[in-house]
């Protein structure tokens, strides 16, 4: 029983990481209909900027919020400058541009900061919390808490503020929104900015666990895709929940299903995707898109 609980707890911890990146992915998708392959690298780059600030002596929370601000601005700028020229191109063209962005960010980060991993501080205490015989990493709990807080703030923003409403309208029906006076272009840019901000938070929470290096996010991006697919790309809450599920199931299968063991852990996580999609093609919590003939 004890090992079961411990694996679940570990799974929730890693799942929280997947979920936070999945959240950023879903946000951009909801706002712009584009799956941003560069999401992970943007988060990684933001985290490096934070590292530079911390290295220069800036205190943690100042660097944290400064990074969020910078990430937000960069997200907006990227959408306006890099994505805008191909806004009306076929969707795959935009995907290639995102891939180009991914490759550039990765390469430049490696060039500036080198590929050797760097430790990254956590705002949460070092000592693990023990309940019975189960160990909870304080940082894991803290990171999960931060992710849920971000989710809550986003929910409040989109549901109860005018700006949030305008953004949702721009994503769902750009033509009508323009007629209502909403500047759709800027709404898209805002969407990217917010997603970049969420990604930066994810990066700052992940780096203390997996250590900062240019390839930090590539593995996680994979799991984030799995989580978002599982939860449904149209549901932010679903994305986070999907992440938690992926984390837990992966751990449990690795522990209990002996013939798979750890050698196929990743495969199991990935196999969940097509299996779930076959049963619920839009993900567990996604909205089924109804096409009018």
């Amino acid at each position: 029983m004890e090992i079961f609980l411990q694996q679940v707890v570990s799974g929730l911890a890693t799942g929280g990481i997947y979920g936070s990146v999945a959240l950023a992915l879903v946000m951009i998708y909801q706002a712009t209909d584009v799956v941003n392959f560069a999401q992970g690298e943007m988060a990684m780059f933001s985290t490096y900027l934070a590292w530079s600030m911390l290295n220069a002596g800036v205190p943690y929370w100042a660097a944290f919020f400064a990074t969020l601000a910078v990430a937000f601005v960069c997200g907006v700028v990227i959408e306006r400058v890099v994505i805008r020229p191909v806004e009306n191109a076929p969707v795959l063209t935009i995907v290639i541009v995102c891939i180009g962005l991914l490759v550039i960010l990765n390469s430049v980060a490696g060039w500036i900061y080198s590929y050797i991993q760097k430790p990254f501080p956590s705002p949460f205490p070092e000592k693990p919390i023990t309940i019975g015989n189960i160990f909870f990493g304080a940082h894991d709990l803290g990171a999960l808490g931060v992710t849920l807080l971000v989710l809550l703030l986003l929910y409040v923003f989109f549901r109860y503020t005018t700006l949030g409403l305008a953004m949702r309208a721009a994503a769902q029906n750009p033509v009508s929104s323009r007629l209502c006076g909403i500047r759709v272009g800027w709404m898209l840019a805002l969407g990217w900015g917010l997603a970049a901000l969420v990604g930066a938070v994810a990066g700052l929470m992940i780096a203390p666990i997996v250590f900062l290096d240019p390839t930090m996010m590539s593995g996680i991006l994979i799991y984030a895709f799995a989580s978002a697919t599982l939860g449904g790309f149209t549901s932010p809450g679903g994305a986070v929940l999907g992440g938690l599920l992926v984390g837990v199931i992966e751990n449990l299968v690795g522990t209990y299903v002996k013939f798979i063991g750890t050698e196929l852990k990743l495969t199991v996580a990935l196999a969940m995707i097509p299996v779930v999609l076959l049963v619920r093609p839009s993900g567990l919590f996604g909205r089924v898109a109804v096409h009018r003939v």
Binding site: I3, Q6, Q7, S10, G11, A13, T14, I17, Y18, S107, G110, S114, Y115, I116, Q117, P119, P128, F135, G137, I206, I209, V210, F211, D213, P214, T215, S218, G219, I220, I222, Y223, E250, N251, G254, T255, G261, T262, E263, K265, L266
Partner: protein, 404 residues
Amino acid sequence: MTRRTIVALALVAALGPLLFAGPAGAQWPGVTPTEIKIGNTNPYSGPASAYGTIGKALTAYFKKVNDEGGINGRKINFVTLDDGYSPPKTVEMVRRLVEQDQVAFVFQTLGTPTNSAIHKYLNEQKVPHLFVATGATKWGDPRNFPWTMGWQPTYQTEGHIYAQYVLKNVPNPKIGILYQNDDYGKDYVKGLKDGLGEAGRKLIVLEQSYEVTDPTIDSQIVNLKNSGANVFYNVTIPKFAVQAIKKSHDIGWKPLHLLNNVSASVDVVLKPAGLEASRDLITALYLKDPTDPQWKNDQGMKDWLAFMQKYYPEGNTKDAFNVYAYTVAQGLVHVLKQCGNDLSRENVMRQAANIKNLSLPLLLPGIKVNTGPTDFYPIEQEQLARFDGERWALFGEVHDAGKK
């Protein structure tokens, strides 16, 4: 003679040199009186890019050699290409180096699958494939692959040493293994298993693997603790080694912790994991760790730091890969000097297989480089060390895999 024959002969005379001569002044492939061209591939991009610093450090070292006059009057032209750790790319780049750039030989190509891809080709083309940057065991096979030579102690050798240590010093060993699911990890595990022997193999209670793309290995550590293992064989790269050390400490698991050499850096691994948490870790070493305070006043280390500052300032002086690169480059320079004025590929290979008791400044005291016509493993010695909270304290004898 007909007019046609005269014209034909004239054409041959005019074009012949173009068709049949090599590059101007070439005495042997890649060698002119003023230059030796050396080829290399390294992963400067992709998942293994952390190893790319080796290529950069090598380039810096050869620049130093050139600044100091070169070797027997020849400057080294070190051509290094990115293969992204992808075997098909390695094949393409190495073919380019051999067939287009006409290098004298190929040196320190990195990675096991990548080297496997060019292994046969280089031997068929009779191009020296020297001092490959991988710890796999298959490179020391002069009978079947006379042009390929390894450099560092193999992962299997290291695994052997740990196995012997466990059998001798642990009364009731129950061994748990965490390994990376690729050739590097599996080779280490094989070394341990072979060292334990048939009977010893039963002492392994649990094996857990992970992929490089996994974010954490917490789950595996939990399982290992739960298996009741009192010996932990940790075959992970630095990123995961830190997690393994930290997590074991956090969940209160205190086995005899054997850490593979790849992750033995004090600054990159032990410090972030916690110096107290890393106490009593055991590893096998053959190079001096640049972050280990015991070498602070060592002349060899001081020279290395000076080299890094002058020739590779953007390189990390805490990164053991840069010590590795410096040492292997020195090994090559020794071989080239030994060649004298005969830099044919055959002679380069002959001299590489003729290194006797070479001492290099950053090898641990007592460890020497040795090769022979049937011994294509240049470094076969390692020494165990225990971390005392501050440094790797060497203990015991220098183990020599060469003497079975």
